[in-house]
Amino acid sequence: MIDKKDVEYAAGLAQLKLDEEEKEKYTEQIGEILNYVDKLSELDTDDVVPTAYTVPMKNVLREDQVKDSLPREKSLANAPDEKDGHFRAPKIMSD
């Protein structure tokens, strides 16, 4: 089962700020989802290889060839802030 602490931890990792009401709500909702998924554990999967991929494909590769990059103005076009050809990120370390 999941409790409020788990939700706060997951929200912290995802850098989400939740208010008390939301925390209660998500604890309940995520709990319901997990309970539902938990039904799968009723199956005996001892002899089943874990599935990482669902499409039957392997080794999709390209040759080591350089292609044109984007013009820099285009790369930076969506940047909320830029300076001297760089993306500019806000303060990284909190006080």
Partner: protein, 481 residues
């Protein structure tokens, strides 16, 4: 050094692979371009884009795995490593978690204390992150500038077992890894430019204790000497803490080259939770025997094997073998000369002496000078055949180095042939005897050393061209009978 504690060191080494294009897109990996010039929707992590794996990156990782005596995975996959930091535009790094390309290897290293086998836990593939420039120091800056040119440059991470017991072993391991990567020609291995990076886990435990002590993770050691100095400092720091009955804190510490110490990186103590999960945008890798065999063929003789062969088959001293195999190009050059010349030790003396001296003075690598292997072989033969003296050879060699001309032409055009004709030397030797009565008297009184002085005078008179052995004999005949 007290012997109360045993040091335990493990290294995590990141090696940038020298492919032309990035790991998941066609952007160039060229170093030194204007910021964000080598970027595209894939490496910028724009929505709707899909990564496609560069085949050469896998080839190189297989080669590295084989060279480090690892088992190559038949089935390997990529995973997302999630963390928020502006050097990653996607907020995750594509890496490998539980099924790396290679595992369970080991390499042999040698230090003054002996020969050791160091285990290689794994070799996995991942994409490099971008470069940040903080506006001022990281903790006080108001913002950071981000250059994503390096984002998506292919890396292998090589994780060692905690098998090293001294900083010297760690340095030897790192040196051996670097040489192996250079011999494989899969990386530039330049620590200063960041194409080879090393983090270390260091802990101490009482001698005899099985369980590991609490470790610190050391980062930011940007040169081989920094790795050794950083580790030495850290061992001493932990030893002092333990001696005072205090505890080592598990944390990340950074090596500060200017302060010569390690500093705690506050704010990174929280245990990481990367929430790895399989990368859904890539399909798995299956490496069959044929692919492995193809890569095995690309692996040249590795530095350690070459080192041993130079000693056992060529009869070189350990020191010479170490210097010559320490640089791949130097070893290749050496062997190319040997295909035309059959005295390895004499060649080794020349390469470690005059050749290395000039290479270092000019900042050249072995194949950048005017001396070709075939010309060096020719020059050594001229000495062996008494056509030029060893002393003149140095002059000839320097001329070859600077002009690229072959030694026979230089000797011919500049009249540098050794004078081995007794008649031609007769007058000169007589004149020297006449001009140096004191030395002559010394010789006649049995002072052997004075002979050397007289030989030197003849050499000076002939500008080094006289055959010194012959001159010596002539002087003895004239003065000592």
């Amino acid at each position: 050094m007290t012997t109360k504690y045993e040091t335990v060191i493990g290294l995590e080494v990141h090696v940038q692979l020298n492919t032309n294009s990035k790991i998941f897109c066609g952007c160039s990996t060229e170093f030194g371009k204007e910021p964000n010039e080598n970027t595209c929707p894939v490496c910028l992590g724009l929505p709707g884009t899909l990564p496609v794996l560069n085949k050469k990156v896998v080839d190189y990782a297989i080669m590295a795995g084989l060279a480090l005596n690892c088992d190559i995975a038949e089935y390997s996959k990529f995973d997302r490593k999630n963390y928020f930091y502006p050097d990653l535009p996607k907020a995750y790094q594509i890496s490998q978690f539980d099924l790396p390309v290679a595992e369970n290897g080991e390499i042999e290293i040698e230090t003054e204390a002996g020969i050791f086998n160091i285990g290689v836990t794994r070799v996995h593939l991942e994409e490099d992150a971008g470069k940040l420039i903080h506006e001022g120091s990281i903790d006080k800056s108001k913002g950071s500038l981000v250059d994503y040119n390096r984002t998506g440059v292919p890396l292998i991470e090589i994780v060692s077992e905690p098998d090293m017991r001294t900083p010297a072993q760690a340095k030897a391991y790192l040196t051996e890894l670097k040489m192996i990567m250079e011999y494989l020609d899969i990386s530039d291995c330049n620590m200063e430019e960041g194409s080879l990076r090393c983090d270390a886990n260091v802990s101490l435990r009482p001698v005899g204790q099985e369980e590991f002590g609490i470790k610190a993770e050391l980062k930011n050691m940007n040169s081989f000497s920094a790795v050794e100095k950083g580790l030495e400092y850290e061992v001493k720091r932990q030893q002092e803490l333990l001696d005072e009955g205090k505890k080592v804190v598990q944390e990340t510490r950074t090596w500060d080259e200017s302060l010569n110490k390690t500093i705690s990186m506050r704010g990174k103590e929280e245990a990481h939770d990367y929430r790895y999960f399989p990368e859904p945008d890539l399909v798995p890798l299956e490496i069959d025997e044929a692919w492995k065999e193809e890569m095995q063929k690309e692996i040249p003789e590795l530095p350690r094997e070459k080192y041993k062969r130079f000693i056992s088959e060529l009869g070189l001293p350990e020191y010479d073998a170490g210097v010559l195999t320490g640089d791949k190009d130097l070893a290749v050059f050496f062997e190319e000369v040997l295909s035309d010349y059959d005295d390895p030790k004499n060649l080794s003396n020349w390469m470690m002496g005059e050749f290395l001296r000039l290479l270092n003075e000019n900042g050249h690598s072995p194949f950048e000078s005017g001396v070709s292997p075939i010309n060096l072989a020719k020059m050594l033969k001229l000495i062996d055949q008494d056509i030029i003296s060893g002393k003149i050879a140095k002059e000839v060699f320097e001329k070859m180095y600077n002009s690229g001309r072959d030694p026979e032409t230089i000797v011919e055009e500049e009249g540098l042939k050794q004078i081995s004709d007794q008649d031609e030397l007769e007058n000169i030797v007589d004149a020297i005897i006449e001009d140096n009565p004191d030395a002559v008297e010394d010789v006649e009184n049995g002072k052997e050393r004075a002979i050397g002085f007289l030989v030197g005078q003849v050499m000076k008179e002939t500008r080094g061209k006289a055959n010194p052995g012959l001159v010596n004999q002539m002087l003895r005949d004239k003065l000592m009978n």
